[in-house]
């Protein structure tokens, strides 16, 4: 591994010689819309590109996650999985046309996660260019149904049904270069819908207003006591409702997320919110419904786990300063399946969730080199004898 680390900075310029190929993959994939549950077209392109780069096998799992496999040199070693989620926040009918300038690429979904998917599909060409072989099979996956209501179903299914043990995993996200995620909080995302029948407003002079009721829900949620240990928090991140400035709102909803180091605490807080919702529903005689959108159990690698330590060394060797925080990505599914894994970011960018999301091109080459370094670390055995926390 030490010899490999010495070579690693030199890989950056080698990878740069494939600049056009990598950007082409990012653009061809990124310009194909893939809202959650409608990833079929992007999935097809993902497989086409891998087939064109002549990976040993291109297929889908039983849930239609597209997969490419590069065979390793030692059949006795379990595979290493490298994945990026295929789905984007944008609707299918949004015409996505990326604009490339000298240093940047701009367009909807480029950072989340067209860049990540484009990099995964470019890895076969990059391995070939660098003349790198691994002992393990490398599984390149584009997972479907990750975001929002997708609730990471694609990766859950992929890992649950994979027929062999998995040596280690790397989740690729577009940004931020330097992120080294190795733990995820417990989390539940939910929505609270308030609905008042229009009939009632015609009969009742004091018709309740959905927005006012949701406001009361928020007030009561905010008055819940959040413990310091385990660290816990609630974020109300979405709100929508009403039809007109001068009309009583008949419908509205809020979206929220509960996070904690402890999944038990997440469930307890969710139970408190459920009590609030039921109480107000009864008090105001309105339909107030609580729905769970997605959930994750808290899971983590120890900071001293060799995968985390070696990944940090890889980043530092490339002059990238690692930083870490909790992530709600596919990482948590790896960890909850007792598979050591980390999440890495590829480059820097701005306007993450906007139509004009913009990525920087130049740092991407270091970002790709770090992925190769971490794959090599797993291939050299850093995950083989360690138990997860």
């Amino acid at each position: 591994m030490d010899n490999f680390l010495q070579q690693l900075p030199g890989f950056v310029d080698e990878i740069k010689t494939l600049k056009e190929v990598i950007i082409t993959n990012i653009v061809l994939i990124g310009q194909t819309p893939a809202p959650t549950f409608k990833e079929k077209r992007r999935s097809k392109i993902f497989m086409e590109r891998l087939a064109e780069f002549q990976v040993d096998e291109v297929t889908t799992d039983g849930y239609r996650n597209p997969i490419g496999i590069i065979r390793g040199t030692d059949a006795s070693k379990p595979p290493i999985m490298v994945l990026a989620h295929l789905d984007t926040f944008y609707e299918k009918d949004l015409a996505v046309n990326y604009v490339i300038k000298e240093d940047t690429i701009t367009g909807a979904g480029i950072l989340d996660n067209s860049l990540g998917v484009g990099v995964v599909t470019s890895l076969p060409a990059i391995f070939k260019k660098l003349d790198i072989r691994f002992e393990s099979d490398i599984i390149l996956a584009g997972t479907i149904q990750s975001i929002g209501k997708g609730n990471l179903r694609g990766v859950r299914h992929l890992l649950k049904t994979w027929p062999t043990p998995i040596r280690g995993g790397i989740c690729i996200e577009g940004i931020e270069l330097g992120r080294l995620n190795y733990y995820s909080d417990g989390m539940i995302r939910g929505e609270i819908w308030c609905s008042i029948s229009e009939e009632r407003s015609m009969l009742d002079e004091y018709t309740p207003n959905a927005i006012i009721i949701l406001n009361e829900v928020i007030n009561q949620i905010m008055s819940l006591k959040m413990p310091q240990r385990p660290r816990s928090r609630i974020v109300v991140g979405k709100i929508s409702g009403g039809a007109n400035h001068g009309k009583i709102a008949h419908e509205g909803y809020i979206g929220f997320e509960i996070r904690s180091d402890s999944y038990r605490m997440v469930k307890k807080i969710f139970g408190d919110i459920k009590d609030i919702v039921e109480g107000l529903s009864h008090e105001y005689e309105v339909d107030l419904n609580l729905r769970t959108i997605s959930n994750l159990r808290a899971s983590r690698l120890k900071y001293t786990h060799p995968l985390v330590k070696n990944s940090a060394v890889v980043l530092e060797t490339l002059g990238i300063k690692p930083f870490s925080k909790s992530t709600e990505s596919a990482l948590s599914i790896f960890l909850s399946n007792k598979i050591p894994a980390v999440t890495l970011g590829i480059t820097h960018g701005v306007d993450h969730y906007k139509e004009k999301a913009t990525m920087e091109i130049e740092p991407m080459f270091k970002g790709i080199a770090q992925v190769i370094g971490v794959i090599k670390a797993i291939d050299s055995g850093v995950c083989d004898e360690q138990q997860l926390a």
Partner: protein, 334 residues
């Protein structure tokens, strides 16, 4: 009328998606292929075109030998961006600079013949938002795989029926359907089989392009179709369905000016071929009206359709491509 042409010489880009086969055919025939992108303020799309075509048809498959940008004097960052991504960038005014200077797409295409090396030249507009390498290999397919085909035009997804139970999208844009197709129907019915005669994407052998004149502006596609047809016949032409193309939409007045230039080119061609007589010269101003403060005011656009001669008639060209000095004389005698 050659009714079989549409069936026989119409292809789909996917017929040629085996790029290895195209490269093998190119190698066997010992051909060089140049891609030319004429530009004027295309900073939003030029990089994407260069990157994708270079990645897929130069780095991964050696189908293209060079990518050349010929620019009409962009005031944005088109030329800097094109250079940054490795294209050979030329300012049209600096190619054959001793000749009278004109500005226009046709001028760039004509001058590209002087600076490119290829036996085959692919011309693609530089404003294609959904650029894909099929735009180039789709056009090259018939040229490489069928010896009799010398010029290939693109068309896109607009339905028309071809034979039994075959449906294809119809027609081209508004100018095609309202101007070109009626004219072709009146004078060159065989050419109506070109589904999008004004498409800006085409490829052909140098020996064809160097022997036809190039109007410097909008008329270049119209004249190219007519000249190749009258000189070599319909069977040297093919057309390829390139699926979808997304580009800038133009307003009706801009299309009116385009139609003016095309009509002028067409009529001049007819006169030259001896098919019609004109008693007077055609005017060279397009007059359009705008409602300003409740009054209609004319807006005049001078649209001179200058025309470059076949580039083979230019001595510098013959010298560069080692064509015998008395070639023209021999050609005329022949």
């Amino acid at each position: 009328m050659n009714n079989n042409w549409l069936e026989k010489n119409t292809f789909h880009y996917s017929d040629f998606k085996d790029l290895g086969r195209l490269v093998a055919e190119k190698t066997r025939k010992n051909l060089k292929i140049s891609l030319c992108l004429p530009t004027l303020n295309e900073e939003k799309t030029i990089a994407k075109e260069i990157i994708i075509l270079k990645s897929e048809l130069m780095t991964r498959y050696a189908l293209l030998d060079e990518i050349v940008v010929v620019d009409s004097g962009s005031t944005d960052r088109t030329t800097e961006i094109a250079r940054a991504y490795g294209a050979d960038v030329y300012n049209a005014a600096e190619i054959l600079p001793h000749l009278e200077q004109f500005k226009g797409k046709g001028e760039n295409l004509w001058k590209a013949l002087y600076i490119t090396q290829g036996d085959i030249i692919v011309y693609l507009d530089a404003d294609i938002k959904n650029i894909h390498h099929r735009f180039a290999y789709g056009l090259l397919g018939p040229l490489l795989m069928y010896d009799e085909i010398k010029f290939v035009k693109a068309f896109y997804d607009r339905p028309i029926s071809i034979g039994k139970n075959k449906m294809r999208p119809t027609g081209g844009g508004r100018v095609t359907e309202l101007v070109i197709r009626p004219l072709f129907s009146l004078f060159f019915p065989e050419l109506t089989q070109l589904i999008q005669p004004l498409s800006g994407e085409y490829a052909g052998y140098r020996e064809v392009f160097e022997r036809i004149p190039f109007p410097i502006g909008y008329g270049v596609e119209t004249s190219m179709n007519m000249d190749i047809y009258t000189k070599w016949g319909l069977d040297v032409i093919a057309q390829v369905d390139l699926d979808r193309r997304i580009h800038r939409n133009q307003d009706t007045k801009a299309l009116g000016r385009m139609a003016f230039a095309i009509l002028k080119t067409f009529i001049n061609r007819k006169v030259r071929l001896g098919l019609i007589d004109l008693r007077d010269e055609l005017f060279d101003e397009m007059i359009q009206y705008n409602l300003v403060n409740n009054q209609y005011q004319p807006e005049l656009f001078k649209i001179e359709e200058h025309e470059r001669p076949p580039i083979i008639e230019i001595p510098e060209y013959r010298e560069k491509f080692k064509i015998e000095p008395d070639f023209i004389q021999k050609l005329q005698e022949a």
